[in-house]
């Protein structure tokens, strides 16, 4: 036992050395056209040696360490906790959502301008997360090109405003509907396929959209992007210092208050908040409607659902289209917030981040998605001094989360009725 452990530990330590030394310890440096190999600093070597030692010791005493950790109750508070009773859980979720919305309403009046701006971004990710949650969490369709629909929404607004002078409010429904139309057209042929193919096709579609935006230079201005996208207006009142569009009035002149640039930020935040609450509400209703139930039915058991008369294509297509619709929504807001869009903003990493939000939150759970969106957006901002390591940590966190808590922070449970007495032994996992 010990001898075998020792050999395994030695092997693991050796592998650690092999995968860390050449990449970390030897650095390539370009000097003009030639390249030079330089050694790293001493602390890197110390770090590698430490890592090798830790891996060796951990693997050597692995049974003892894991056994010991498992017995410490304080480390694992969930170990013998009963799941919350259903009524309590529903009430908890409702109260938490109301509290979050109330807190969000007062946020701009207590926080700084930067914090409000960041909160707007969080809300955009919440809309995206809630939308993708329909596709991935509820319908179980793996969409790796979600950012494409986001891009469609953003570019619809950008192009319409540039060529035809459309305002935010006119573009918002158009962008969302157009994104939904893209989702419909893509989903129609593809959703007949098996799940993994859907993943790769959507990924390819996301890349195609980005490449097209990059190369249709005449229309989209290519990598340089589209600038000067207007801000939203409030009943024809603009928030800039001077009125840009003829016929509009200016907010600070109408109310006769001094001009303040934070008005615009707060206004945009409030609009995003309203749209996020709208998204939350619509999807919450949809989940309880027959269509929402059929999404989950198809996810749980496709064959059973089909034999009960559900049309596979129609149900999947509805989820896919609705998801795309809300991505288009978020895209329009994003374009308005940034005032400038370019294909750079719509890379695969964005899709991965939104997917991570859905998965970290607990697939299907709306409260979980909201909390995860807040965490994923804010934590990197707090750890700015480690910004170099941001994506490294992000990737590692995704892996660790899947290994330790794959069901997410707040897994979703269907509202269900417990049958009485005679079926007391049957636990319902729906």
């Amino acid at each position: 036992m010990i001898a075998q452990n020792f050999r395994h530990a030695l092997f693991c330590a050796f592998i650690t050395l092999v995968i860390s030394y050449p990449i970390l310890g030897l650095n390539l440096e370009a000097q003009g056209i030639s390249i030079k190999l330089t050694g790293a600093e001493t602390q890197t070597y110390v770090g590698i040696a430490l890592a090798v030692l830790i891996v060796f010791l951990f693997q050597l005493f692995r049974p003892a360490i894991l056994g010991g950790l498992g017995r410490v109750k304080a480390l694992n508070p969930l170990v013998d906790r009963q799941p919350m009773p259903q009524e309590k859980r529903i009430r908890f979720e409702r109260v938490a959502l109301v509290l979050i919305v109330l807190g969000a309403m007062f946020w701009p009046f207590i926080a700084s301008r930067g914090a409000v701006d960041l909160a707007t971004l969080v809300l955009i990710y919440i809309i995206l997360g809630l939308g993708l949650n329909v596709v991935v969490g509820l319908a179980g369709l793996l969409d790796l090109g979600y950012v494409a629909f986001y891009a469609v929404g953003a570019y619809t607004f950008g192009l319409l405003s540039q060529y035809y002078g459309f305002s935010f409010w006119m573009s918002l429904p158009i962008g969302a509907v157009l994104a939904a139309a893209f989702g419909f057209v893509l989903g129609f042929p593809v959703l007949r396929l098996r799940g993994d193919y859907l993943a790769i096709v959507t990924l390819g579609f996301g890349e195609i959209i980005r490449i097209l935006l990059n190369n249709l230079t005449d229309l989209t201005n290519g990598p340089d992007g589209i600038g000067g996208i207007p801000d939203p207006t409030l009943f024809g009142m603009e928030f800039g210092r001077r009125v840009k569009v003829e016929g509009n009035t200016s907010f600070h002149e109408v109310f006769n208050i001094p001009y303040d640039s934070t008005h615009k930020v707060i206004f945009l935040y409030l609009i995003t908040l309203i749209l996020a609450v709208f998204t939350l509400f619509i999807i919450r209703r949809l989940i309880r409607m027959p269509v929402g139930r059929s999404w989950e039915a198809l996810r749980e058991d496709e064959i059973a659902a089909r034999s009960l008369g559900l049309s596979r294509t129609a149900v999947k297509l509805s989820a896919f289209t609705i998801g795309a619709f809300f991505a288009g929504f978020a895209g329009t807001i994003f374009a308005s917030k940034q005032g400038f869009i370019s294909p750079e903003s719509f890379v695969f990493l964005e899709s991965a981040i939104v997917l991570a939000i859905v998965v970290l939150g607990g697939m299907g759970s709306q409260l979980g998605v909201i909390l995860a969106a807040i965490a994923v957006t804010i934590l990197p901002e707090l750890a700015r001094e480690f910004s170099e390591y941001r994506m490294l940590v992000f990737g590692a966190a995704m892996v660790l989360m899947m290994v330790w808590r794959p069901q997410g922070l707040l897994p979703m449970t269907r509202v269900h009725i417990n049958l009485k007495k005679q079926e007391a032994g049957v636990t319902d996992h729906a």
């Binding site: 490449i211 695969f348 590692a396």
Partner: protein, 309 residues
């Protein structure tokens, strides 16, 4: 004459890149065939292979041409060792603990691993792209070139890619069809549970699959890195996507399918950049994927899947 030569050149370029895609695609297809997951980090392993081989080539700093084959061999071996260790570690850390869960979970773990490895290399080696010296120079003229017509060339680098790929593919085919581990691999990909009942150590076979895939990806990393002439930490991602597309194109789970898919994809890309515009080559390859999936969902050589109730 001009058109024929131009066509020939595009065909050669396409087959060159395509055979390297095929090498990477095998890693995807073997893993998918056995445990049914998309190994998203595979493109990063290929990128690490390219980096390690460049590090070794730079470190040896050989100038005399006589030593070049030896240098390449050493670089290849080092790249294979590091990449396959990486493949082993990735499987152990990120995939084995989540095996058998809902199929989204290994996939997300894989995406996380891919992001992690990209940034690992990015932090250690910098984000700028680094030039990869072309150690195999020269080529053979295939005709044309008189009176300003187009001259088709087969460079020795391209020839090397063909030969190395051929050797790897032959070796792999022999390994899969003849060796005991290869037979076990085939058994596991047909039915994992049954083969574990029959006494095959499935964990060992799955690890072996990852290691084989990673080694082939390291070979492709050295070849394509040198062929393209520069590498950066992001260059594994798009190549990984392409290779996965190639694997799906050929019929995922099938090794000959991956080879065929790689070649088809490489040629399609090369003709797009030769006759249309190089910006649209990715659009064409993903478009091709969508079309193939529509009309032949199992890929070119894949077996149709029977749904059992």
């Amino acid at each position: 004459m001009h058109d024929v030569m131009y066509f020939l050149q595009q065909l050669i370029n396409g087959l060159t890149v395509g055979s390297a895609y095929a090498l990477i695609a095998i890693g995807y297809t073997m893993v998918y065939g056995i445990i049914g997951m998309i190994n998203f980090a595979h493109g990063e392993i290929y990128m690490i292979g390219a980096y390690v081989s460049l590090i070794v080539i730079t470190g040896l700093a050989v100038t005399s041409p006589a030593w070049i084959p030896l240098v390449l061999l050493v670089a290849l071996i080092c790249a294979i060792i590091v990449s396959s260790s990486m493949g082993w570690a990735v499987e152990r850390i990120a995939y084995r603990p989540v095996r058998g869960q809902h199929r989204l979970i290994p996939l997300i773990s894989a995406i996380g691993m891919s992001i992690f490895l990209q940034n690992y290399v990015h932090l250690a080696q910098g984000s700028r792209n680094i030039g990869f010296p072309l150690l195999i120079e020269g080529g053979i003229s295939l005709g044309g070139g008189e009176d300003g017509t187009f001259q088709a060339n087969l460079s020795y680098m391209q020839l090397t890619i063909f030969i190395v790929t051929l050797i790897c593919m032959t070796g792999l085919s022999l390994f899969i069809s003849r060796s005991k581990t290869g037979r076990a691999c085939r058994a596991v990909s047909q039915d994992l549970k049954m083969s574990s009942l029959l006494g095959i150590d499935t964990n060992r076979i799955i690890t072996a699959t990852f290691v084989i895939g990673a080694s082939l990806a390291a070979v492709a990393g050295l070849l394509l890195g040198m062929y393209y002439g520069s590498i950066d930490p992001l260059f594994g991602f798009i190549a990984g996507l392409k290779a996965f597309t190639a694997a799906v194109l050929g019929g995922i789970g099938s090794i000959p399918g991956a080879m065929l898919g790689g070649l088809v994809l490489g040629v399609a890309e090369s003709f797009t950049s030769g006759y249309l515009s190089s910006e649209y080559k990715d659009v064409v390859s993903f478009g091709l994927l969508i079309l193939i999936l529509l009309f032949r969902p199992t890929g070119l050589l894949g077996k149709p899947e029977v749904e059992k109730i």
